[in-house]
Amino acid sequence: MRNLSRTLSAAVFAAVLISAAGCKKKVPIPSTPPPPAPAAAPTDNTPAAPLSVRINSFTGEPRSIERGQAATLRWSVGNSTDISIDQGLGAVAANGSRQVFPSQTTTYTLTAKGGGNPDTRSVTIEVSSSVPPPPARTTGEVIPSGEILGREAQDVYFDYDKNDIRADGRDTLTKDADVIKRILAADPTFTIVVEGHCDERGSEEYNLALGDRRALAVKEFLVQLGVPGDRLKTISFGKERPVCTDENEACYQRNRRGHLAPAQ
């Protein structure tokens, strides 16, 4: 409001001057004011900046991270009130720290301005791009050992009326032994039952005895491969639990098997 009234009064004054000039024929036009004095150029000897800006420290820990992990930047700056870090972090205090989550290798530059020449310092955080794949389940959830056994252990097959481990059975059991050893090492209370099964031919009684022998043969083989025998029980089901009931050799073969299951 004051500015407005001043402007108004100036305008009124100017109008009076013009009208007066119009009335008084020759009024001299006032000269333009002189330019301001040029500013004094700064020199090293400028006495106006008695203390120079100094970055005491600027670090990043850890220097290398995996993508998604955090690193901490820490800094300490003296004699400056205008401090900033690039990469979008902006102005910061003289002493401080900041967590950063760079998605790729990034160099952070700290700039401090003040009375003298600005000071800068940089730190680079290495980001590993080859992150290993995540586990099958989210962390914290344990897969039951029986589930692993059921998924990974294979049945071993026998010839009719025989309990010898065949060549294909040796391969199967070698793989099974690795699975079992891994499970037993991870789960100290877990026990496995080796089941012996038979096809539907032969008597119920004889097959129960034969299945017992098959289960023992499987157990003996696994123990030879280093599986602890006290973690393996055996049971025969004879022909009580067939996986199929067709009357042909393909089905009979599927039923003449050693099977690994969690103990009750």
Binding site: Y160, D161, V193, E200, R201, G202, S203, E204, E205, Y206, L208, A209, L210, G211, D212, R213, A215, L216, K233, T234, I235, S236, E240, T245, A263, Q264
Partner: protein
């Protein structure tokens, strides 16, 4: 022809001194020849008893017919005037001939010769009647030898029987009466005997029992696991079987009377199976996996003092002790290759193979006479296609009883030594049947679920 001859003599052996008439079946071909002829009237009931006479007459006829020791005379040959009690028989009198004709016989009622003469030509007559007494069914049953000259000499049986006033009661008295009649012909009565078996009709294999005609089926165990291989002690008071208990097969012994479990100690073994009682009921034989192979063991009746009888690297199952000698043991072993029938003494000595090495042998069973055996064999068939055979231990010649397309397994002798009970599988269904020891008169006893491993137990005295 030859087989029939052998069979006929085997049956004669099986049933012992069946033929009171002294006729000898050997040397004949027709197995009906030489069997005593018997006529059985249709019994009638007084008052309410009549309602149950269909069940009674069917049961009585079947019991006598299925015994295989009698020749049943067809009812169309019977006289019209049927006696119901001994006083109905009226001896004919001699009437003087008229006008010089010779004296002739005057008929006064039913008489013995009506039956012994043509066309009936029977030697024996079964007759009587039923009535209601004090809310019970009463049977008066008679067996006459109608070839005798008078009623007092003719009577072999004249007895009262009581049962409940329903079909079950009428069947019961019919079976008891039939048992008494068959006893007259040297047969051990089957009355009161039970068949134990395995049934999965509840969803689990449990031990069941039934009367030998399939009636009165009763669940005996409730382990809700797998229970099988029943066997009954000679006195009928205990039964043993094996059951899966927490990943281990064990022998169980139960009281047949109370159904309760009796103490039995099982050795540490993954598989213990096929129990059998010694005839003195003091020991139990069974198979157990002790040194890596299932071999045969013997222990006290409570499982103590176990001794391993066989020590071979093979499966050995189904020990069966001779009921007469108590010391001969049949068993199944794979020691010579595939499973065959073997014999040893009860101390494990004198091991000898009985079968000839062909096919697969299973389920040995002793006839009560300790001389005949029955077993299942695949000889001449695909592996698994079992049929029932019987064999005299004296000559060890097998005779095949079944030959149908299914599997026939688990034969077991009846206490009379003349019948067998067994299981037969057609398609996916296994049921229990009885038959005569010549393979005839087969009768299906079960229908619900699958029913297997029958054993025929003596009646509890």
């Amino acid at each position: 022809m030859k087989i029939k001859l052998i069979l006929a003599s085997l049956i004669a052996l099986a049933v012992g001194a069946i033929f009171v008439s002294g006729q000898d079946v050997r040397g004949t071909i027709d197995k009906n020849q030489g069997k005593p002829r018997i006529a059985v009237i249709d019994f009638r009931g007084a008052g309410d008893a009549q309602k149950f006479m269909t069940a009674f007459n069917t049961t009585l006829w079947d019991e006598l017919s299925n015994s295989g020791v009698l020749q049943m005379v067809g009812k169309s040959f019977y006289p019209l005037d049927i006696p119901q009690q001994p006083q109905d028989f009226k001896a004919p009198t001699l009437a003087p001939g008229r006008r010089g004709e010779p004296a002739r016989t005057q008929k006064n009622g039913p008489w013995l010769t009506d039956w012994s003469g043509p066309p009936t030509n029977t030697t024996y007559l079964v007759f009587g009647y039923t009535a209601v007494q004090d809310g019970r069914l009463l049977l008066r049953g008679y067996l006459f030898n109608v070839t005798q000259p008078d009623v007092s000499n003719a009577q072999l049986i004249g007895k009262l029987y009581f049962g409940s006033l329903d079909d079950e009661g009428s069947k019961k008295v019919a079976r008891e009466f039939a048992g008494d009649i068959l006893q007259q012909f040297g047969q051990k009565s089957l009355a009161g005997s039970k068949i134990y078996f395995v049934s999965d009709r509840t969803g689990n294999k449990e031990i069941w029992s039934m009367d030998y005609d399939g009636s009165n089926q009763k669940q005996m165990t409730n382990y809700r696991s797998i229970s099988k291989q029943p066997v009954v002690s000679a006195d009928g008071r205990m039964f043993a079987f094996n059951t899966l208990v927490k990943d281990t097969w064990q022998i169980m012994v139960h009281s047949a009377e109370t159904g309760k479990k009796l103490p039995f100690y099982n050795p540490v073994s993954s598989t213990i199976e096929t129990p059998d009682f010694t005839p003195d009921e003091k020991h139990v034989l069974y198979s157990a996996s002790l040194n890596g192979y299932v071999n045969i063991c013997i222990a006290d009746i409570n499982g103590g003092n176990m001794t391993q009888l066989t020590h071979v690297k093979s499966q050995e199952v189904s020990p069966k002790v001779n009921p007469k000698t108590g010391r001969d043991v049949l068993f199944i072993s794979g020691r010579s290759g595939v499973e065959q029938l073997w014999h040893m003494n009860i101390d494990g000595s004198d091991v000898e193979r009985i079968s000839n090495g062909e096919g697969y042998v299973a389920n040995p069973a002793w006839n009560p006479n300790g001389q005949l055996i029955a077993f299942a064999w695949t000889r001449g068939f695909e592996p698994g296609a079992y049929n029932i055979f019987i064999m005299d231990m004296a000559d060890k010649k097998p005779n095949q009883l079944t030959s149908n397309s299914g599997k026939n397994e688990n034969p077991w002798w009846a206490p009379d030594g003349a019948h067998l009970v067994y299981q037969s599988t057609h398609g996916r269904s296994t049921q229990i049947y009885t038959m005569l020891a010549d393979g005839t008169h087969s009768q299906q006893l079960t229908t619900h679920g699958n029913n297997t491993q029958p054993v025929w137990a003596n009646a509890i005295n």
